[in-house]
């Protein structure tokens, strides 16, 4: 039986197995995607170019990984490729990728510790390779950490270019074990979180430091007295202020968020209703600066308030009669819109929470940033890692007592 017949039988078997899996396999695309080369075992003459675009090479679409070079002696050329989505725990399936090579060579390939498979590559023709995992692993589940390629017996003084792309694993079940490129690290310092009673207005701070007023535009004593019987929450907003709170966009800046939070500080009907949001913001910034902006506190507010609303108009379109309506605000914001460094600590501490709602139920926070989600159920600190410098959308989903709101900020990693 010649090689072509063997290959045809193999391809039929492969197609059969692919069809068998077709309805239940999930594609995990390894490339295009982030990845690295394991340097220690790399024996190609030149380092690869990770994202090459030389156009469509006989059916191989760019981008692809390019290996080129020549050596002055006959040898095998080895490369172990690790991808961001590896390692994976697999229960079966198949590996699929395309290759293009400028000279006819023998390719030996394997996945992690699997047995090896040899494929003959014709010159200047793209070849799609599909290997059932059952062919290279004896039992499942298996953990796959790399794609290993070897060009066998490359002759001396032959300049060869190998292009590899469209690499995927089709799997029955898969579980991403870890993030290879950016493993989350433990904080260099383990913090003890504070035991602040967030529903009380007082906060510990530096002795002798100037105390920020809640507002210089607060109600006069007389107005406060008259509003005390009307407002059970201790905060009373005008109709226009209530509109600002209600129409607050969910995609906002920290400054806009604080402009709204300030409305609660400005419209207090009595003392000791909530902690001063201006103090919390200032202290959040100070805390961040004292750590060279590698620490980012998150402020959270859960506030009940009263507001006036026009019930009926007079003839000249001014309001003839007002009514009191109830309002509620639940929100969260980072203390700053920038951080410095690739790893930062997100601090969710009751010191930075405020509420006039009954109950000691904790705040919960979900943070989505840089493609990852972090769950902070109650007071906690998490380390966030950014894959590069630049601006990121930071989504904060804050929850308390069954109510959940979502806020979007832009945070710059400088």
């Amino acid at each position: 039986m010649n090689f072509r017949v063997i290959q045809a039988i193999y391809m039929i078997a492969l197609l059969f197995s692919v069809n068998l899996y077709a309805t239940e396999l999930k594609e995990i695309q390894l490339y295009p995607g982030e990845g690295i080369l394991e340097s220690a075992s790399f024996t190609f003459p030149e380092p690869p170019e990770w994202k090459t675009n030389w156009g469509n090479k006989g059916g191989l679409e760019p981008p692809y990984i390019r290996f080129s070079g020549q050596k002055n002696y006959d040898s095998d050329w080895n490369a172990i490729l690790k991808f961001e989505k590896l390692p994976l725990k697999l229960d079966g399936g198949f590996l699929s990728f395309k290759v293009f090579v400028t000279e006819q060579v023998e390719l030996e390939l394997s996945l992690g510790n699997s047995s090896k498979k040899n494929v003959s590559l014709p010159a200047n023709t793209a070849k799609e390779i599909k290997i059932p995992l059952e062919d290279i692993f004896d039992s499942f589940p298996v953990e796959v950490s790399s794609l290993n390629l070897k060009l066998k017996g490359v002759p001396a003084w032959h300049y060869i270019t190998l292009l590899v792309g469209e690499i995927s694993i089709y799997s029955k079940n898969s579980e991403n074990e870890s993030n290879l490129e950016f493993p989350t690290q433990e904080s260099s310092e383990t913090f003890v979180l504070s035991e602040t009673v967030f529903s009380k207005p007082s906060r510990d701070f530096m002795e002798g430091s100037f105390t920020l007023p809640y507002s210089r535009a607060g109600y006069s004593i007389e107005v406060r007295d008259s509003l005390k019987n009307i407002s059970s929450t201790g905060i009373f907003l005008s109709e226009m202020e209530n509109e600002k709170i209600k129409e607050m966009p969910k995609e906002i800046s920290v400054s806009s968020f604080m402009n709204k939070a300030y409305l609660f500080a400005k419209n207090l009907v009595r003392d000791s209703v909530i902690a001063n949001p201006r103090t919390l913001l200032q202290n959040g910034k100070l805390l961040s600066a004292s750590h060279d902006y590698t620490l980012l506190p998150i402020l959270a507010m859960d506030v009940d308030y009263d507001a006036s609303e026009c019930e009926s108009l007079s003839a000249d379109s001014s309001c003839a009669k007002y009514q009191v309506v109830k309002g509620h605000f639940l929100g969260a914001a980072p203390a700053l819109e920038f951080v410095r460094g690739s790893q930062i600590q997100l601090v969710f501490d009751p010191y930075f929470w405020l509420s006039n709602r009954n109950g000691e139920q904790s705040f919960e926070l979900e943070v989505s940033v840089a493609g990852k989600n972090y769950s902070m159920k109650g007071a906690s600190v998490v380390m966030i890692e950014f894959p590069q410098l630049g601006k990121y959308e930071m989504v904060l989903r804050v929850q308390r007592a069954g109510i959940k709101t979502e806020w979007k900020y832009t945070v710059e990693v400088q």
């Binding site: 080369l37 340097s39 090459t52 690290q185 535009a217 108009l313 460094g341 010191y351």
Partner: protein, 824 residues
Amino acid sequence: MKKFLAICFLFVSISFGKSYDINFYGFGEMCAKISGKDGFWKMDGSECSQMKSSVLRSLFQSVRVRVLDAPQYSSSPGFRLERPFLIVDGIHLDPENPRSLSDFEKDVEAYGLPTLLKSLGYTPMLIQFPQTVNMELEVNGKNLAKVLQYFAKAKVIPWTYPNQDGFVVFGISQGGVLGRYGSYLYDISKKSDEAPVCFFASLDSPHQGAVIPRGILATINFWAGQGIRAAEDFADLVSAPGAKELLLYDTEMGLLNMFGPRLDSDRWLLNDYRKAAEYKGFPSILLSEGQIFGKLNSNEKLYFELNRYAEKFSKTFGRAVSRVSYSESEDSEFSYNRVYESPTSTKETKKGKTPFDRVQGSVYPFGEMMYSALREGMLEEMPENMKQKIPLLGSISISTKWESDELKEGSSTFIPTTSALDLKCDGKLSVLTDCVRKQTESGLKWENPGSRSTGSSIYAVDATHPRSSEKMSGRHIEFPEGKKNVLAGIQTDMWRLLCELAKSDFDESSQEFRNSAFMGFFDPTASCLDQSKMPPMLKNAGVLNKQKFSWVRYDFHSQATEREEEVSFALPAGWQKSVRMDYGNGFPAGSIVEVQVKMENPRANWLKAEFMLTRQKNGGSQIQLEELTVKPDGSYYTLRWRIPGTDEALKNYRWGRLILNSAGGQVSLKGLRIIKETIVQEVNPQLISSSKLYPNSGYRIIPWKKESQLENGTLDFYFEKAYDGVFLDLTQVYSFKGYKNLEVAYEAGSCQDVRIYFDALLSPKEVLKLGNGKIQNNQEILELPLDKLIDVEISQDGGLSASKLILQAGKQKTSCAINSIQLK
């Protein structure tokens, strides 16, 4: 043509040291957290047991300190003090963004100070108060005194020669007031065997107060009262004790004063602080960034005017107006503010003189800041597409317009020149007299003002200062950012500061500098106003800006990031991508990437390094820079690559890759940074005319000490003491372009351990020495690489240029007979 980049691809050995942070807590007995040392430590060396690692702990910091490029120490905490030069940070005026130690470090780097100080043998120490606004000046001053005491005890942080070294304290802006007060409190209470404050200097510090325009203060007060948050933030700033105590106008309206001058003698600045100002226990050098020609800053009367209104059914139902001006008479308006929301209207017109608004002195953009904040506030209250909700009718559109929107004069006087100079007129403080407005240079003795100032020497933007021809004084504590005039001003101020420091260091009795690093560069008899005496190292100060990368990963040490000062890993054999870094934007063309590399236990005697620029994180379209060779001998070597091309061509190349190629070994990396040119200096030293430096009748031979024995003007000398020296004065800065080495021939057996270098002392570990040369015709011949004799970080053009060749005895009783010195 940029000249400074002649250093590209050089292989030099300039040490880039480690920094240590020391955070102080508490007001009574201070506890310090020192990086590199576990626990919290009291001054007496015992542990503070009550401190814990609370996430909020740093809200209780009283002072924070960063020791830059600290001298290493073999045991805990890993560093020691040596000639501490304390730089005290100023007030943080931006209510939105507080300052961090790294912000401060970046600023002093912009002045080129750390490099200068290290080359002069000092240890730069940054002092920052976390609360410059919210804390009383007196409290922060007292805390500084405690910090000095903490260091002087030397129980926790070793200090070999505290009495001999003393403290040098240099305060910037408000830091000058805090530094002066703290130094005074420490110095009068210290024990006789504790380190003295040996020198104090301030840069543009408000010793007699500072100014925010009267109309701005009235406007802040009005709008804060209307519930505009931005105005509330400004009100917090000006009414908090750290700022209020410095301001010459009252920050509160009061019953009669209406934000007028507050010059009563019971305020701290004009009372208790005067004791510190009058103290003569150490020299005080006071530098002002203001002009002193007796003329006012600017002629514009109006700062800004904003007037926005909202119309409903063609009828105005809302309006906000703010107008702030300078006023010369009691009847003229200095501020007008109005808010109208149908049917109620509140307005406030303030009239009276604004006597300090435009006095000569450095300026700050208070008008612009207020204008921007109010404009934003008015737009928020009356946005472009305003709607009003009407019961049963839904929403109706409201028309909004600007009637006035004009910023006329964004900047105004902040630090009066005479305040920064702490000048007196007829025995009174200048701010209490017309001097603050009319003082000229006439009659002022800058280097010895006598009773005219509390400073031992004072300097301002006088006729000899490079910024004297500008229309008005420049901005208070401004950074060059491409402005040559600003850089020239900074260099002049730094020259005056260091010239005075050198003078105070000079021991009249022994006729020598106590700090030998001054020798050869500073002349104790020269006038500090004479800029022709400025050493070359100062002419390069601030030109180069060094930055660490904010995002770094190591391929063979997955846990290490940019936070680690030093990273070690086992490097496999072969061509290995070893470090990846993100600059954020395209690498600036002409900048330099620098890293220090060390290889131990090499499997073969070779190591090569390359640097690549890429557009994508994982490579592609790379630009590969030159391959450099490193000796894998266990020593650190500094590698530098110049980034080629133009900014436009490199705009997408934000990723850098360090590649190491070897047979394998243990590698350590540190000091990864980028060095940018902040300004194009037209520095082009003349090419040296002859390769023969000695003998050469065109150059002078000058011993550091008169008693050093020299044979008839030759380089045949004998030094009794170690570290005595002699220099060959080339009379001007020459470029050695085209030369690589310096060949020195000397009598066989002489000159052993004699240090040799051009212009500035390299670190003791790096400096080259004579001795063990090749014997030829009864003389020893040594060929030394020029790039190891010249510190290109501080050379005038950043390249191989110098003005003096220094020979310094490495041990006592040294004789040395030089036969020839030649460039090769």
